[in-house]
């Protein structure tokens, strides 16, 4: 009797939330439970907000990665671009430019970087993975060149307000991430642009023959990634009170891990923004937990690598299951013909 009741509840839950998302939520609960048992301060409102703040930059970059990886692309440059943007914003303001103008110029730099990535992928036909590795190095170099290797401190009040302001007790940076995730999630799910992204990720050639313009879509995606990352870099520098050329190393690593955890597949054409937000929270809950239970920094790297391996393995298993299901379904379809 008891068992039946619980299985009914289970079915109810399952019908509300798709199965692969449910696994993520369960994983999140397990992560929270483990770290709470190791450090009782882990499960608290303050720490929850801390996790969200720390996740805000990863979350922004993960928006771009969700689109790019669904479209069959990738981007390894965001870490450098975020650091560069922080340095650029801080430098411009320190030169006396008004904050808003500094933001506009920095975002334009993000646009240019996006165009550069898209140009390499579309015209020079370099794999996105390698093309954006080029950008990663070049832009990191510029970040150092721009400030001569020294962090640029920020004193502008408007600039500092971005990272300092709270709204309903939650910092502005978190609100920006959440609002953008919702907006870009809706664009991905509801608009013809979103639909095109899935189509070119599934099969670029077929999508082109069906009348879509894959190169244009890829360009838009890289530019979008550039702008969002530049915005993230400004917010991050504001939180740090300085633009730091050495900041945000491995940012793309965390963002890609989050996106793949969330169910976006490296084969392209599969995934959604709801999974990404869960993935972002999961990975930051994990990273923050590692720090709070005093895991040595070097071992944190090992753990994060292991998490990405876990994400990729589950991506592989999901893919295999999809193929199995397809085969079964097409067997049935053929038998009924």
């Amino acid at each position: 009797m008891e068992e039946k009741k619980s299985s009914m509840v289970w079915r109810r839950v399952k019908s509300l939330i798709p199965g692969d998302k449910l696994i993520l939520i369960v994983a999140l609960i397990i992560v929270v439970a483990i770290f709470t048992s190791l450090n009782s301060n882990y499960l608290s409102w303050t720490n929850f907000v801390n996790i969200l703040v720390a996740a805000s930059l990863i979350g922004l970059v993960a928006i771009g990665h969700t689109y790019l990886i669904i479209a069959g692309q990738n981007d390894l440059s965001p870490g450098s671009v975020a650091a560069f943007s922080g340095v650029l914003g801080a430098t411009l303001v320190s030169l006396g430019l008004p904050f808003l103008l500094a933001v506009v110029i920095t975002l334009l730099a993000g646009v240019m970087i996006g165009f550069f990535n898209a140009w390499m992928v579309n015209k020079i036909k370099i794999e996105a993975f390698i093309a954006t590795l080029v950008t990663q190095f070049i832009i990191r170099g510029f970040a150092y060149i721009l400030c001569d290797g020294r962090p640029v401190s920020i004193t502008d009040k408007a600039y500092l307000a971005v990272g300092g302001t709270r709204f309903l007790t939650i910092p502005l940076s978190v609100w920006i991430m959440l609002v953008l995730i919702v907006i870009f999630g809706l664009i991905l799910a509801k608009t013809r642009f979103g639909r095109s992204v899935y189509a070119i990720g599934g099969n670029k050639d077929a999508a082109r023959l069906a009348g879509l313009n894959p190169q244009r879509i890829i360009t838009i995606l890289f530019v979008m990634m550039g702008v969002i990352t530049a915005l993230g870099g400004i917010i991050f520098s504001s939180r740090m009170h300085s633009g730091q050329p050495a900041a945000n190393v491995n940012l793309e690593f965390d963002a890609i891990t989050a996106v793949v955890l969330g169910g976006v597949s490296f084969t392209g054409g599969v995934g959604d923004m709801f999974g990404t937000i869960l993935g972002v929270i999961l990975i930051q809950a994990f990273n923050t937990g590692l720090i709070m239970v005093n895991v040595p920094t070097f071992w944190q790297n090992v753990a994060r690598g292991a998490l990405l391996l876990f994400a990729l393995t589950s991506d592989y298993i999901r893919k295999r299951n999809r193929e199995k299901m397809l085969l079964e379904a097409s067997k049935k379809a053929l038998a009924s013909n």
């Binding site: 664009i187 013809r192 639909r195 990720g201 599934g202 099969n203 050639d205 397809l326 085969l327 097409s330």
Partner: protein, 501 residues
């Protein structure tokens, strides 16, 4: 012990395709068994199942009476099953001996490769085969026929060779080379090996095979004696239902409208210059050998490949298609030949596959897709084209090949095109669905569309077209009216050398 290979009720599924359907056959040692069937009959899937490249979805595979489950070609070779493919699998930069003993070169007691010993042993096999080649020669310096011999010797050099399969081995050989090959096959036969010989050249089958196993649409039809069975009987088994009367029953308009499309001296990197015209309500067939430039012509017309010169005039107005998107807007659409890699969007469902080309019309000013509008189009398409699917949310790859193809045609018909280009539309589709497509094509023509039908199946192109353009060597080789067309006429034009007009 006498060797044998047996398939019992082997079935192999791929998404959307049942490649092998309950296939059973036995091949015995000391006997040459030929596999005969049309393209798409399942011969290559059979060979790949034999050598472990594919694993059967169900059924038993017996080698010498023992059930086997090969997970890779390597395992099959280890167990004594080798397939000699049409494409050479030899390594060009290595010598004959190195190729023969690839991965098992004789070594001395220090583990160093012993080239002398390898050459000696290779020479013994070469002598055994009676060939005039040297073990030290690099394979790239040999003729194609001898490269193939090297492959056969490689299989033969394994003491435990039990089964050897040949996939259309004579495709690129001269008569003298064929004689040499057949002598080797007879030698292997004399040694009690199981020999499977895939070909559709009847004269060869008569010469070399003892028995013929006939396949059609992934099914085993039967085994007949290679010497005494009349050719007509074998062809009937191979082709099955006669399509002749299907064409006669098609509902065609006798009257054809005014000129719709005129192509003048169109040139791309891959084809041309080509000129032709198409009228409203006309089915214009494009015939020719594979590689004659028909697909390339279609790709140039729709802007998939860059046009270097020439004009496209649609309804009296010159148009420029820089991309398939432009062509679609102008009213010219293209159903590609390779459905799997160029037609369907495998990750999306039936509904999204049908509406993908209508996104602009189906979304509002800020780009939000009107799914209700889409649902209507999809519902109509499923009904109009009799697409067999439980619902529109099924992934397209779950459908059979014919139904996938209907979705692609529905996708384009929803855009209200003026010219519909179909590239091998019935390739890999079963006979029942084929006749549905033929009726569909006639319906489109009746509606006033200009239909360009690229097809390598001669009866199909003759049965459906009002007029047939034959291409050869990337240019038009000639034109025949549909009612005057015969297979012989089309073939002789297709094989004409120059082809340049």
């Amino acid at each position: 012990m006498e060797h044998s290979v047996e398939f019992r009720n082997i079935t192999k599924y791929f998404p959307g395709v049942k490649a092998l359907d309950d296939v059973s056959f036995v091949a015995k040692g000391g006997e040459v068994l030929a596999f005969l069937g049309e393209n798409g009959a399942g011969k290559s899937t059979l060979l790949k199942t034999l050598n472990g490249d594919y694993q059967a979805t169900s059924g038993e595979y017996l080698l010498d009476g023992q059930e086997v489950h090969f997970k890779s070609p390597h395992e099959a070779i280890e167990a004594g099953v080798s397939v000699i493919y049409q494409e050479r699998q030899v390594l060009m930069e290595l010598s004959v001996a190195e190729n023969i003993f690839l991965g098992r070169m004789p070594a001395n007691k220090f583990g160093w490769i012993d080239k002398g010993e390898a050459n000696k042993r290779a020479q013994a096999i070469i002598d055994d085969f009676g060939l005039p080649i040297r073990p030290q020669t690099k394979v790239k310096d040999l003729s194609i026929a001898y490269q193939q011999m090297v492959e056969i010797m490689k299989a033969y050099s394994r003491e435990d060779l039990k089964v050897i399969c040949f996939d259309e081995p004579t495709a690129s050989l001269s008569d003298a080379e064929i004689d040499a090959l057949f002598n080797i096959i007879l030698k292997l036969k004399g040694e009690g090996k199981v020999i499977i010989y895939v070909s559709h050249r009847m004269s060869e089958i008569r010469r070399i095979a003892d028995k013929v196993a006939i396949f059609k649409d992934g099914r085993y039809i039967g085994t007949v004696d290679a010497q005494t069975t009349p050719e007509a009987d074998m062809i009937r088994m191979m082709v099955g239902r006669d399509l002749g009367d299907i064409y006669d029953k098609l509902d065609r308009d006798k009257v054809i409208g005014e000129e719709l499309l005129r192509v003048e001296d169109l040139v791309s990197d891959y084809v041309g210059p080509v000129s032709f015209s198409l009228r409203k309500g006309e089915v214009l067939g494009f015939s020719g050998l594979v590689g004659a430039g028909r697909t390339e012509l279609a790709r140039a017309i729709i802007g998939a490949d860059k046009v270097l010169g020439g004009k496209i005039i649609l309804e009296g107005r010159e148009i420029v298609d820089k991309s398939p998107h432009d062509a679609m807007r102008n009213g010219i659409v293209y159903v590609p030949e390779d459905r799997k890699t160029q037609g369907i969007l495998a990750n999306l469902d039936v509904s999204k596959n049908i509406t993908i080309s209508m996104l602009e019309q189906n979304s509002n000013a800020i780009g939000v897709v009107d799914t209700k509008k889409e649902d209507v189009i999809v519902e109509d398409s499923i009904k109009d084209f009799a697409i067999k699917t439980p619902n529109a949310q099924k992934k397209i790859v779950e459908l059979s090949g014919g139904n996938q193809q209907k979705c692609i045609v529905a996708r384009w018909m929803a855009t209200m095109p003026k010219v519909l280009i179909l590239d091998e539309p019935t390739k890999g589709i079963d006979v029942g669905a084929k006749s549905e497509f033929y009726q569909m094509i006639c319906r489109f023509a009746k509606q006033g569309l200009g239909v360009i039908l690229i097809s390598s199946e001669l009866p199909e192109v003759i049965g459906l077209s009002d007029r047939i353009i034959v291409m050869a060597n990337r240019a038009v080789a000639g034109e025949v009216m549909g009612k005057d067309a015969t297979e012989e006429k089309l073939l002789s034009l297709a094989m004409s050398e120059g082809g340049r007009n």
